[in-house]
């Protein structure tokens, strides 16, 4: 869910359209990973692109508009970070292509802002030299000067500018007014960006081979002249790492963090969920009382209020999940977790590199699949993409929560764990284990014993700023609400229509829905799904779930609201299904959503990222087969255990 439909943007729209480059000159932000390019982009353009403390957050180019103080319109391009002009993975390739003017559907930038992390000039300045040689007008934005100052690194901007031969300005991308000096430069004509070549100590050779070593020597010389040639490692980060990377303590910490996250999703959300439920019931009662019995009241109460309310109630849980993910992303812990898990992932033929894409898939498989661009090995990248949907995305949370709430008793286990939280954790684990199984199978089939590259940066730790976390949560909430408001509502209305028409023939005895289109469709589908314990109501609800998984819940809400003959108001779904389903059916449905093969936007993303229909078809096929098989086993075991 969440970022799902957000990350699929114009960048990858078919580039067959004629490109008229509107909106003025193009300014590209280029720099090492994690130096603050996206933060700067957000400050300049007012966008809200994702910023986080690890290398490889941005994996595609994003465009924004910037109006200079003098009123000039510029197009600003945020690019994936890169260590050099030798791309090793598809995300770095994007940046190099843009700089070389090879990017599809985009011209070569007119100017380049080289973003540089002031706490790590040694590595960052080398890229500036390489970019400068490309002959594009450029300036240097010396970012993170706040952190540098705190660590006693004071850079003489004028001197650095003289040494590099291009203008240099200080920025603090996480402050609203942190880009003032850069704004002034953006108003200056492009000629001013070239600097004074005569003063430039860097020879502007046309020789194609200037080695990294030569650039390194130049940087070293510049740093000596600035009095900055000593190393200034972040000692606090080192001390934290002694704990976090400790073989025993660190591993235990990782387990505790992950487990806490899922316990909290259940424990903390209870109260706000109660409020939302109460509010939904209040609205439904009000509408029921205000309108006379008829199709409009049925649409409003049974369709819209039952459907949307049924999904809205999960907002607190989703926000709690994202709260944890945001804190982990901002702190710099994620690459450490990837490091700790590298060996484990190696046993199934993957590397720690796959960890962050897979973790992102817990929010939504789509950004996770995109993040696989940071993986250098094409084979690992493909396997990561193929198993990403097995990570339980947040859209499945409503389904899990509904079923767990209805069928799993609320009680404490071993005096400290909540059984419901434990089951939820178990479902997440089931997804992870099956993903590992698939990866292992892929390893057996595609034998390749060579070590796969890791080379992963471990950034210094940052305190997550409350403001960033708040903005992140607000974004999640608004995306979720838009989805409830848009897709889910529309599908719910369609569902209500299908479930209400055609009207039952005169003298019919059962509820109207059994004679409707949905009823017919459901009975048809039930032939496939009966062996795994799904009744026709469930089978119908799975269909709109293909567009958005949460809809399965709202669709169930609608189907049951209409099936309940006699009862007028929209009842809470939970007691209703607890009543009418067996435990075996519930377990089977939970299992179904561990694999949940039906998400059209995920399949579309896989097609785009792998460049063809083959992989999305393979994915849909194997997920469906796996889901059906697992449900079959679970259902029949449960029936045998007497839970039928």
């Amino acid at each position: 869910m969440s970022a799902c439909h957000d990350s699929v943007r114009r960048d990858h729209a078919p580039s067959a359209v004629v490109h008229v480059h509107r909106g003025g000159p193009l300014v590209a932000l280029v720099g090492n990973p994690n130096c603050g390019k996206t933060a700067l982009f957000n400050v300049l353009t007012g966008s809200r692109q994702k910023v986080a403390n690890y290398a490889g957050v941005t994996v595609e180019r994003k465009e924004g508009r910037y109006l200079t103080t003098a009123g000039k319109a510029l197009r600003v391009l945020d690019l994936p970070g890169t260590y050099g002009l030798n791309p090793r993975s598809p995300d770095e390739q994007v940046t190099v292509d843009v700089l070389m003017g090879r990017a599809r559907g985009e011209k070569r930038p007119d100017r380049v802002v080289c973003v540089v992390d002031a706490t790590n000039l040694r590595r960052n300045l080398r890229l500036v030299l390489a970019v400068k040689r490309l002959g594009l007008p450029c300036v240097v934005a010396l970012n993170m000067t706040d952190l540098a100052a705190r660590r006693g690194i004071h850079v003489d901007v004028d001197k650095l500018s003289l040494e590099l031969g291009v203008p240099v300005v200080k920025t603090v991308a996480v402050r609203k007014d942190g880009a003032t000096a850069l704004r002034t430069l953006l108003d200056a004509p492009a000629e001013a960006w070239r600097g004074d070549a005569a003063h430039s100590p860097v020879p502007e050779t046309d020789a194609p081979v200037v080695t990294v070593e030569a650039d390194h020597d130049t940087v070293q010389r510049i740093l000596v002249s600035l009095g900055l040639d000593m190393h200034a490692p972040h000692t606090l980060s080192d001390r934290i790492d002694r704990v976090v990377l400790h073989p025993v303590i660190g591993m235990a910490l990782l387990m505790v963090v992950l487990f806490l996250m899922f316990q909290a999703v259940f424990a903390w959300a209870e109260a706000p969920m109660g409020w939302i439920e109460a509010a939904t019931a209040w609205v439904a009662n009000g509408v029921t009382a205000a309108l006379s019995d008829g199709w409009l009241r049925s649409l409003l109460v049974d369709g819209i209020i039952a459907g949307a309310g049924g999904v809205l109630v999960f907002l607190p849980q989703i926000l709690i999940l994202f709260f944890f993910i945001l804190i982990l992303e901002e702190s710099g812990y994620l690459p450490r977790a990837a490091f700790m898990l590298d060996r484990l992932m190696g046993s199934v033929g993957l590397s720690g590199r796959s960890f962050i894409p897979l973790l992102s898939s817990f929010a939504c498989a789509i950004p996770g699949i995109m993040a696989a661009r940071t993986i250098a090995s094409p084979r690992d990248r493909l396997v990561t993409i193929m198993i990403a949907p097995l990570m339980t995305c947040s859209a499945r949370l409503p389904v899990y929560a509904l079923l767990i709430g209805a069928f799993i008793p609320k009680r404490e286990v071993a005096g400290m764990f909540e059984l419901q939280g434990l089951v939820l954790f178990g479902l997440y684990v089931a997804g992870v284990i099956s993903a590992m199984g698939i990866a292992w199978l892929a390893k057996r089939l595609t034998t390749r014993g060579l070590p796969r590259p890791l080379m992963m940066e471990l950034p210094t730790y940052h305190w997550p700023t409350p403001r960033n976390v708040a903005i992140g949560l607000w974004q999640r909430a608004s995306i979720f609400l838009k989805r409830v408001g848009g897709i889910i509502l529309a599908l719910t209305v369609v569902m209500w229509f299908l479930a209400s028409f055609p009207a039952p023939p005169a003298g019919a005895t059962g509820p109207a829905i059994e004679y409707s289109l949905a009823g017919t469709l459901g009975r048809g589908l039930a032939t496939i799904f009966e062996p795994i314990g799904f009744n026709w109501q469930i089978s119908v609800a799975l269909v709109p779930g293909m567009a958005a998984r949460e809809v399965a819940v709202s669709a169930l809400g609608t189907v049951y609201a209409l099936s309940a003959s006699g009862d007028d108001t929209a009842q809470a779904l939970t007691p209703l299904i607890a009543h009418s389903w067996s435990l075996a059916t519930a377990l089977s449905l939970l299992t179904w959503f561990v694999f949940a093969p039906q998400c059209l936007s995920t399949l579309a993303t896989v097609k785009r990222e792998t460049g063809g229909w083959k992989m999305p078809l393979v994915m849909a096929g194997y997920l469906f087969g796996l889901a059906w098989l697992a449900c079959f086993i679970v259902y029949h075991l449960a029936v045998a255990a007497g839970w039928g």
Partner: protein, 86 residues
């Protein structure tokens, strides 16, 4: 001279040479772009356990996780931890 994967933890070393492994010739350039360049000081900060692979390596003021096979491409000599001299 020895390769970085054989270094002791928290031992300051200087990079002498980057090998080009036969199975992955691109690693040479990749490692250099990260900052593993002859003359730079490096230090092993941690090893994942069990197995001792991958490693955490400090180079300049950056920290990277490297696989042993990657660290084995980096040839180093010992430096004195206190003085930084050879």
């Amino acid at each position: 001279m020895f390769t970085l994967d054989r270094s002791d933890d928290f031992q300051l070393c200087r990079i002498e040479r980057i090998h080009t492994p036969e199975h992955a010739p691109e690693w040479h350039d990749w490692l250099q772009e990260l900052g593993f360049i002859p003359g730079e000081k490096v230090m092993l900060m941690a090893r994942a356990q069990p197995g001792g692979d991958p490693l955490v390596v400090r180079v300049g003021s950056s920290t990277f996780a490297l696989r042993c096979a990657e660290a084995a491409c980096i040839e180093v000599t010992l430096l004195d931890n206190a003085t930084g001299a050879a």
